[in-house]
């Protein structure tokens, strides 16, 4: 390419060189450069290959709307694809690479796709690869893999690299009075106005410098040269918070802003203690959108060649960065703006020709001529020629008057030498953020752009975002917007906003230049390789809605989201359909405005910090015993305690058998524990549980089941009556939080007349269950006070006692409850004493021939006994399904009683709790397996089967594999018949027998012993 550094000018520090590497080679830029300006200044181009056709591409814009120069930044875990070179701040040591090409962007074998370009039109992939052999989707999926490899947008960092080393991000919640988005002339004026009034102002600017398009501009603003004015505004913002390198990517309900704030992203050697970037969730009382406007290109032949860019971008490179985009420039314009850009280039020593598409001379053209610029009125760009970059430009005149649709039909008249071409069809106010609030854009034919509709309360636009085109008008409007915000927050009278200033000459609609004699390849969306022909083809094939055309052609679906090309595309669609732009409409603007790393949204909540980890008071004891842990919600629970040479299977079977023979202790601290207090506590539980609690005596506990409003089981657990007006309710680990909220809701909302309070005490009590025939003996070894004799503490009895532990005596609560089916006790100690209580009980258990057991053995024991857990009470189960139908009281109403009577829940043949054992020895199946009827087509129930397995274990008691689950009709329906246990995903199937789930000690003699 033909870019170079101008001898003078630009807001860059010529005394401060910045070294960077491009495709492995060393280059130098200047402080104040972007990667885009540095690449241009070094004459580097092309810098990328396009998505589909692998055409060479260069820098096309001067901001995040970039459609050509997509590059990869960094290496290893920090490799970031699709960075837009003009939006990347240059830093010492920056490494950047051209992407989407092999072996290099200058010589790319994929370019062959370009020769086949006439085949790769809209919908090509789908039309061609769908159903060649009639296999439809499957076949498409095979082709898709190949296509995705050939077409692409750069490669993300390797997950393996990222697992070793990744950047940190933060999420910040913030508040302010006024948020001003955009630090250009309008935004600076608005922010200084609001800050001067003493308001808490946050100014958000995506660039690293304030000033927007006024930076380096040769003009006077409010009586000062532009750069001095900018510095003066910055000084006026001393009391405000100015966020540079921060992009407001989304505006959400109630004017909440999502801001992506680069913290060290732009640094070569960042402080490792700082995050790469942060998401700031800002809640301002008022928002001023001074987001500026985005220039629209004119589509013409080969308008994607390196060297073709937006006219305004050429001006920016010269004024702000002191970079000449070329030495022989053409600017094609359809409004006054192109003349101002041409004048800037001419002053920088570039030989410039302006082609003003408007046929009659305007005042602006005279100004260009006065600056020594060649002006060709009525001329249009037709075709950009050249190999790696533009070297000649074919120009011509419209053969007929260009209509309101903005499509000019030109003849090729003159072939001129050119090394850079700028186009400007006009400017589109950046109304993305206001559109995020659901405000529909409204087409304004006079201004030739979409304006925001009426913004919601607390939100205002200012400057070129509201189609004020001159710097002077933007500053005036910005000041008024700032004063308006002050007035709104202080309750004073709001000032009048200035009227829009009319341009010297009326703008002309111009979106595309085409020829009669031959087809031109003209790009609307260079990033996705979408051409004007694609849009016409979509219209021809019936894609009449702009949203459908977008998805069919992929126009505006690349990483720039069509910031420059969408308006041209919909104008061409409107023309093809013979309708107006308002009739055609515009695609919906959605967040984010520019791409946001997913990692930034996650912030610190990743890996071990993704959610809180809950450990029981005895956690360190289990760790010391070598127990692996398993997750139960946020809890870590000891899984099993492996003996020498034992794996999980040997360990849990030994532990389960030990409990049945002697005794064992298990950590049950994870159970939900709710302290229920108040004169109406008994009445409260009586309404919540299906069974009666009103007459439960003090010093006793009772198993209870509670239903949801709709009659399905919510949870089960044991409630201990500690006093007339006090219960300790326990609930399952899985449902503890849910039950707590449920009880709170009932008391706050439905039954405020009940004098009851509830408090979660799950974390206050450490629970150890002591189970097995020797369990009472274990307790007797460690109790220093209290009586656990069967007379004093019968089955379902509760007592207070004292436990001798190392260094003291602990008051404990003991209830005689069994989950295993053996004689058993739950011993609750204050959490701080939990580990010591555990030690004492473990020592006593060892003396009685027992040891700790883990969650796996706990599961084995309860499956043998046929006790249910959250795996069975899964939100579909009724009391009767769980085999607990007889528990429901008929003497009192309770929650869910009415809905329990729903016909479907009372239907015959519902799945009921059963035991399932394989017919053949040595065969196993897993939880989740389907139970199928071998005598019915597809196993019954249209292939869904007649039941399912919820838990499995090796059973020491029954000798062999044992499953618990649900089967239609229950055990009685399957007497004498085999069932099939199917695991289609694992490719396993076996025959099994269905038995009652209540086979172990059915009379409860061991439990009650």
């Amino acid at each position: 390419m033909s870019g170079y550094r101008l001898r003078e000018g630009g807001v860059v520090d010529r005394t401060q060189p910045i070294r960077f590497r491009w495709d492995g080679k060393a280059y130098t830029g200047l402080a104040g450069d972007t990667l885009g300006s540095a690449l241009l200044a070094n004459g580097i181009g092309p810098v990328a290959r396009s998505f589909k056709y692998h055409r060479p591409r260069g820098v096309m814009t001067a901001g995040p709307e970039e459609t050509g120069a997509l590059v990869t930044i960094g290496k290893g875990a920090r490799r970031e694809p699709n960075a837009k070179a003009p939006a990347v701040e240059l830093f010492e040591g920056l490494e950047a690479f051209g992407q989407n090409a092999w072996p290099s962007v200058r010589f790319d074998l994929g370019q062959v796709n370009d020769l086949l370009g006439s085949f790769f039109t809209a919908g090509f992939y789908y039309k061609t690869f769908f159903g060649i052999t009639g296999k439809g989707t499957w076949e498409w999926m095979q082709f898709e893999k190949l296509i995705r490899r050939a077409a692409g947008m750069g490669r993300a960092a390797d997950p393996a690299d990222m697992a070793k080393d990744h950047d940190a991000y933060d999420v910040i919640h913030d508040f302010c009075d006024v948020a001003v988005i955009g630090g250009g002339p309008a935004g600076l004026a608005a922010a200084t106005e609001a800050a001067a009034a003493g308001l808490d102002v946050v100014l958000i600017e995506q660039d690293f410098a304030l000033g927007g398009r006024a930076i380096g501009r040769d003009e006077i603003i409010e009586g000062q040269p532009a750069d001095a004015w900018i510095a003066a505004q910055e000084a006026g913002l001393a009391s405000a918070r100015v966020l540079r390198r921060a992009t407001a990517f989304g505006l959400y309900d109630t004017n909440v802003l999502g801001i992506y704030e680069r913290i060290t992203e732009h640094e070569g050697d960042p402080d490792p203690a700082l995050p790469r970037a942060a998401i700031r969730i800002l809640r301002p009382a008022r928002v001023i959108l001074a987001t500026g406007a985005i220039e629209r290109p004119i589509a013409f032949g080969n308008n994607d060649r390196p060297g073709v860019m937006l006219a305004g971008a050429m001006e920016r490179y010269a004024s702000r960065w002191g970079v000449g985009p070329g030495s022989r420039a053409f600017i094609a314009t359809a409004h006054d703006g192109g003349h101002a850009d041409a004048t800037v280039l001419a002053r920088a020593g570039v030989e410039v020709t302006v082609m003003d598409a408007r046929p009659d001379g305007s005042e602006a053209a005279e100004m260009s001529r006065a600056a020594g610029v060649e002006v060709l009125e009525g001329y249009l760009p037709v075709d950009a020629e050249g190999a790696q970059a533009v070297s000649r430009l074919m120009i011509g005149r419209a053969r007929e008057a260009t209509g309101a649709g903005g499509i000019a039909v030109a003849s090729a008249e003159r072939d001129r030498r050119a090394d850079c071409v700028g186009t400007s069809a006009g400017w589109s106010p950046a109304i993305h953020l206001v559109a995020h609030r659901g405000v529909k854009p409204v087409w304004n034919g006079d201004l030739g752009c979409f304006l925001a509709g009426e913004p919601p309360a607390g939100l205002a636009l200012a400057g070129s975002a509201s189609a004020h085109w001159s710097t002077e008008a933007c500053v005036l409007d910005g000041r008024a917007a700032g004063a308006e915000a002050v007035a709104a927050l202080r309750g004073s009278a709001a000032p009048q906003r200035p009227e829009r200033v009319a341009p010297l000459g009326a703008p002309m609609a111009l979106h595309e230049v085409k020829m009669r004699s031959r087809k031109l390849k003209s790009f609307l969306d260079p990033q996705h390789d979408v051409t004007t022909a694609d849009v016409r083809q979509a219209a021809q094939e019936g894609y009449r809605s702009v949203e459908h055309m977008k998805r069919y052609t992929t126009l505006g679906m690349a990483t720039d989201q069509g910031k420059t090309g969408n308006i041209g595309g919909l104008a061409l669609l409107a023309d093809a359909l013979g309708q107006s732009i308002p009739e055609t409409g515009i695609t919906t603007f959605r967040p984010p405005y520019t791409p946001v790393p997913i990692a930034a949204l996650a912030g610190r909540a990743r890996g071990a910090h993704w959610q809180a980890i809950r450990r029981t008071p005895m956690h360190a004891r289990h760790e010391a015993a070598g127990a692996p842990f398993t997750d139960a919600g946020a809890w870590k629970r000891a899984w099993y305690y492996p003996g020498p040479g034992e794996g999980i299977d040997e360990a849990y079977v030994r532990e389960a058998a030990m409990v049945r023979e002697t005794c064992g202790i298990v950590d049950v601290s994870t159970l939900g524990k709710i302290d229920v207090q108040g004169p109406d506590a008994a009445e409260f539980l009586n309404r919540v549980y299906v069974n009666g609690f009103a007459k439960l005596p003090v010093g006793k506990c009772r198993y209870g089941v509670m239903l949801r409003d709709d009659g399905i089981v919510l949870d089960d657990g044991v409630s201990w009556r500690l006093a007339e007006d006090r219960f300790l309710m326990t609930c399952t680990t899985a449902e503890a939080a849910h039950v707590m909220v449920w009880l709170e809701e009932l008391l706050a909302w439905r039954w405020p007349e009940l004098r009851v309070t509830v408090a979660s005490v799950s974390d206050q009590w450490a629970g150890t269950a002591v189970a097995g025939p020797r369990s009472r003996a274990v307790l007797e070894r460690v109790l220093t006070g209290g009586d656990v004799s069967d007379g004093a503490l019968p089955f379902m009895g509760v007592t207070g006692a004292h436990l001798a532990v190392a260094g003291g005596v602990v008051p404990v609560l003991i209830a005689r409850i069994s989950f295993s089916g053996e004689r058993a006790y739950e011993v609750y100690a204050p959490a701080g004493w939990g580990a010591l209580a555990w030690d004492a009980l473990a020592e006593a258990a060892a003396a009685e021939g027992g040891a700790p057991y883990g969650l796996e053995a706990l599961g084995a024991l309860r499956i043998e006994k046929g006790h249910v857990t959250a795996a069975e009470l899964d939100g579909r189960t009724t009391l009767a399904d769980a085999g607990l139908g007889r528990m429901a009281s008929t003497k009192k109403p309770f929650l869910g009683a009415a809905m329990m009577q729903r016909p479907h829940l009372q239907a015959e043949g519902r799945a009921e709790l059963v035991h399932v054992i394989p017919v053949e020895d040595g065969v196993r199946f897993s939880g989740g397996a389907l139970l199928c009827d071998p005598d019915v087509s597809m196993g019954g129930n249209d292939g869904h089967g007649v039941g399912w397995i919820t838990g499995v274990t090796e059973s020491p008691v029954f000798g062999g594999w044992l499953g618990i689950g649900f089967v239609a009709g229950g055990a009685s329906a399957w007497q004498g018949r085999e069932i099939l246990v199917e695991e289609p995903v694992a490719g396993r199937s076996c025959r099994a027998q269905v038995l009652s789930a209540h086979r172990y000690d059915p009379k409860g003699e061991r439990m009650h012993a």
Binding site: T254, V256, I281, D709, V741, E745, A748, R750, F894, A898
Partner: protein, 109 residues
């Protein structure tokens, strides 16, 4: 990302709260007939616009709040304690007289 003005804790982020359903429902007494419960449980409005909702400040004071909210714009029109007992207690704490409409027991009707 709504900001909810909890009467106990002050303005807090939506992520601290849990939505718990329609607060315009009057639940029938426990011994009410099947049909009354069917109506309360299954016949729900799905308002486009102003709705009365039950929320809990789960990660805060755990108060239950009756929030009047526009489901279309997420604008919150009012926040008050769902529990009349709580409202009365807080009002008494603040030395205010208790509005007659929030006397304990009335919501139990």
């Amino acid at each position: 990302m709504m900001l909810i003005h909890c009467p106990f804790c002050g303005p807090r982020d939506q992520s601290e709260f849990t939505y718990l359903g329609d607060a315009s429902i009057t639940y029938p007494p426990l011994d009410a007939p099947y049909e009354a419960w069917c109506d309360a449980i299954f016949l729900r409005e799905n308002p486009r616009g102003v709705a009365v909702e039950l929320w809990q400040h789960t990660l805060g004071c755990r108060s239950f709040l009756k929030i009047v909210r526009n489901t279309l714009t997420h604008e919150i029109l009012s926040v008050e304690y769902a529990s009349p007992t709580m409202a009365a207690a807080m009002a008494a704490e603040a030395g205010l007289s208790v509005p007659p409409s929030t006397l304990p027991g009335e919501a139990a009707e």
